[in-house]
Symmetry: C2
Subunit: 172 residues, 2 copies
């Protein structure tokens, strides 16, 4: 799954490094590169607005509201009406380049686009950072729970609120 580097790639290892010190410039540009490759392979267009929105989301391990994104777009000369942001965000979500975080009414860049995953988010209530956790076991448990009553799980949103290691250390 991971791409190849000459040197170790802190952005590409599991588990997610959102809460750890890491080379985030690499982490972000790596995700962007992978999204570009995937878009090309799928024959969909990562247009300027869409690409810029993804870059904005990638700047931090944090979820941004549609209107936060929109304000930044507007300041950079793109349209300044809600659909501009929502359309780009919807596109990114469809392509698996970003996820919607329902608990926050916000959106976050996907940190490992291309790998099939139904994301599980760990959201720090103190610093607002968030991490995409390995969700396979969770998804399995959810499907098992569904199966017991004949329910077929097609999609899921799993979001935990809590304290990240840093904020826990700081005694929040």
């Amino acid at each position: 799954m991971a791409h190849l580097h000459e040197t170790a790639c802190p952005g590409c290892e599991s588990p997610d490094l959102a809460f750890a010190r890491h080379d985030h410039a690499h982490c972000a540009s790596d995700a962007l590169t992978r999204a570009e490759a995937l878009a090309a392979a799928r024959g969909v267009r990562l247009t300027p607005v869409r690409r810029r929105v993804l870059e904005i989301l990638l700047e931090e391990h944090r979820a941004l509201g549609a209107y936060d994104v929109l304000n930044r777009l507007a300041a950079e000369g793109f349209g300044n009406q809600p659909p501009v942001a929502y359309r780009a965000l919807d596109f990114l979500e469809e392509q698996g380049f970003a996820h919607r975080v329902r608990r926050l009414n916000a959106f976050a860049a996907c940190m490992h686009p291309g790998e099939a995953h139904s994301p599980a988010f760990l959201i720090c209530r103190a610093c607002d950072k968030l991490s995409e956790a390995p969700a396979a076991p969770i998804r399995a448990a959810l499907e098992a729970a569904g199966a017991e009553i004949g329910f077929t799980v097609e999609g899921s949103s799993v979001e935990a609120l809590g304290l990240c290691p840093d904020c826990r250390g700081a005694g929040k």
Copy 2:
């Protein structure tokens, strides 16, 4: 945990019967009775608005938006401004008598109030009914995922979208 009946109590067995044929009048009145007892035991007041909102939520295994609830309240002579509904819903959620379903921006009655549980919801995309699934294994998996990177899970929302047995049978 379950209360006692002379006869079998379809509303009080696990797993949740939302998608199965069951005596829902019983199922609902049972949940209401338990909420009343819990409120009394805790010294909190299940006032007329609050109680009515819970009854409304209990009418079906379905989530209702705050404004759906509000419209019904207004039609029955209660206040007709948003806070009337939101305050009652917040109260019910705090007391564990109802849950917020983030995926739907809506609220659903808890079908087994009093039992400690972080709920997992199974939401049918065809008929909109929803079921509270046993969430302990899911919660455990989520906490394990968090622990791996030092994240402490305090609360979680787990919501699956899919097809219930009936709608699956009907070929939706």
